[in-house]
Symmetry: C2
Subunit: 416 residues, 2 copies
């Protein structure tokens, strides 16, 4: 079965001409084809060009569907490279406390924060977690996200971390959205190990990581390295275990303070370092020379009304900059990549073009998928969104609604 | 025809017990009835109480429909008391320039800004303007806004201002959303009067206002009083004309600088003063003692990344605080009142309860409708939204999507 999409006002390819990321000024080049068209064959992109040059098909040909984009924008589906979307419970009451002036850290010190969600998630079985997350993925897809990373980290016991990863595994088999799993056992120190940090790191490195790698339950291992969470030394121990077990690396870095851990991530060849609100000039220089993507989380800074990561400095230094939702119940209860693009532009001064590159190709790079997804290039999977609008610049400009008219996933035009 | 809505987890009445506004601590009292129900008769609210106490109907009764809210929140539809949603053209290219670092004022000085939209709107006929705006109102309604104010102000000639007001009049007759019209001839000085400010004020006060009043084309007259726009003296002349012609008053005040014009508005008994990013302590004191509503526009400060109005000081001083979208192509291309509530809570530190009161009852007061709409009280029109969630606190907390499951307008449950 083939699908021809034609009459796109702008076919926004985000093509990197075979390369897997865009940096610096390249991020502003969206590879736009005016009046564009695209042919999909067996789920993958077979041809890209102008509508006038598109292969013509006999109308009676039974195996070709032709879709008229009617002058709308056709572009890659969003890749959301950082979410915590498997969880139970709600933290809307903590949100109300924050409105009254308490900080995220103050709420965590009162027993709220991550451990609040840990309690609820431990008390919920795999089937129910999967069902909750599946409904969330439905909404992501409707708002244009065709690939999402999902982290564990609300279990913090071997049993509960595996339960989360198994739920993610179920979703990757059952849901249309492409799911990439990350093991985040080092999200917070579990209460049971409050007096035995070493014991918990030992559990993660000697027991959980080898098991998860053997069972294929995660592609990446992530660590929350910050004051009050895990140290650089602990991070390095976890990275060593992950690497020797063949898993990729990610890092929550410089969210609350400048820890310098970006250096460790770059040295270990991590796929991404995420957050970076307090990243130092030296660390920016390291990222610019590395393949490690800088995943910025505009929705978190917005939702917590805290400092934004220095997107302009990162882009201008030549780092591979991506954006993600960080969808989670504590610091960003939003899955909307269109809104993340608006926040990136209005608050972080990214241009519309940079933000779109950051939410597609570079986001795919942050989860190791930019060879297969994240741009509209021949040979890649056909993950495509069609906007309501005729101009890609409407994407950050018109905000708070859903700008997506249609979604194509692995070559299939979805019905909503 | 009667409609009984029952099994609301929370029936959020926002009742003011007969009063038309809420101030100070009252704004936190949402008048919630747990497991609530509500009876509508001929479009108006006939009874409000607990589901267990609801009038029972014989199933065979042909004139009663029963709607099961299934444990969701039932609350008043949003009132958006400040929009400019009749316009032609797009300013997404100006938005891209702002992302590059230009300010809103710099873009206006280059011939962009309001006058950009004026050119496009002058070149578009009433029928097309009405059609564009009607599609926008469709979306407002889907996101829970059941009443909206619409301003003129992109015509700036007698003919083009009347064209806008006539389009608004058409919409008020044709569209489900209740529309309230405001004449904003004093939105910007038209280029034709660049050397004759007095002549334009004369045109507004001696010709346009009397005609508009006679034809019933607007309920309010508004002025953009700020540096680079209109002076306090000009504002007072326009207020005098509006008052003597029987029209209500509104004011764009203290957006770019502290002009002191809130004093004029309070003295003339204006329905609202809007923006207030630079309002002074003295002006806050005046508002606290007046009936004039303070309409805050969180989306503008967010979109322009500029200063927010001092919501906490206004609430704590006892002013009647409302929020609006200011939906317009220059400074806020969003119609989403749910997102405005999130921005109000996260950036302006309003509590969820205060923000909901500000978006319903107090917003209705800002356009003179709080005797009829804005809360769920017996005798008011049944403008109702039913959330997806079982807790009203989800409204600011889960952001960037559409939290509205169902809308009831003038007692009719809408199908989308």
């Amino acid at each position: 079965m083939r699908l021809l999409i034609r009459n796109a006002s702008q076919l926004v390819t985000v093509s990197a001409h075979g390369a897997r990321t865009k940096r610096g000024a390249e991020m502003r080049d969206l590879g736009i084809i005016e009046d564009g068209a695209l042919l999909i064959d067996e789920g993958k992109i077979a041809w890209v060009g102008r509508s006038a040059d598109a292969p013509s098909f006999d109308r009676s040909s039974p195996d070709v569907e032709v879709f008229d984009a009617e002058g709308r924008v056709v572009m890659p589906g969003f890749v959301d490279p950082h979410t915590h979307l498997i969880f139970a419970g709600s933290r809307e009451d903590e949100f109300a406390l924050r409105c009254e002036g308490l900080t995220y850290q103050q709420i965590a010190e009162r027993g709220g924060g991550i451990l609040n969600t840990v309690r609820a998630t431990r008390g919920t079985d795999r089937k129910k977690l999967r069902s909750l997350a599946s409904h969330r993925l439905d909404r992501l897809l409707r708002y244009g996200t065709t690939t999402a990373e999902i982290k564990s980290g609300y279990g913090l016991t071997e049993e509960d971390e595996l339960k989360m990863l198994q739920a993610a595994h179920d979703l990757s088999a059952e849901h249309l959205v492409t799911v990439v799993s990350t093991f985040l056992g080092a999200h917070a120190l579990p209460p049971e190990y409050a007096d035995d940090r070493t014991g918990y790191i030992e559990l993660i490195t000697s027991q959980m990581i080898p098991y998860i790698a053997r069972k294929g339950l995660a592609r990446f291992v992530d660590v929350f390295c910050d004051s009050g969470y895990f140290t650089r030394e602990e991070t390095v121990r976890i990275f060593e275990s992950a690497t020797s077990n063949g898993l990729g690396l990610k890092l929550h870095a410089d969210e609350l303070s400048a820890t310098g851990a970006v250096e460790d991530a770059a040295r270990f060849g991590a796929a991404s370092v995420d957050h970076l609100e307090y990243i130092s000039k030296e660390e920016i220089g390291l990222l610019a020379k590395s393949e490690t993507a800088a995943v910025l989380l505009p929705g978190v800074s917005f939702f917590l009304a805290q400092r934004y990561a220095p997107a302009r400095e990162l882009i201008e230094s030549g780092a591979v900059v991506a954006i993600a939702s960080d969808y989670n119940p504590g610091s960003c209860m939003s899955f909307s990549m269109p809104l993340m693009i608006t926040i990136a532009c209005t608050q972080m001064k990214m241009t519309p073009e940079e933000a779109i590159t950051a939410a597609t190709l570079n986001a795919a790079a942050a989860i190791g998928l930019s060879g297969e997804r994240g741009s509209l290039e021949v040979g890649k999977w056909a993950d495509i969104i069609i906007l309501e609008s005729s101009s890609y610049r409407s994407l950050p400009y018109e905000f708070g609604g859903n700008p997506i008219a249609h979604v194509v996933k692995n070559g299939v035009l979805l019905e909503f």
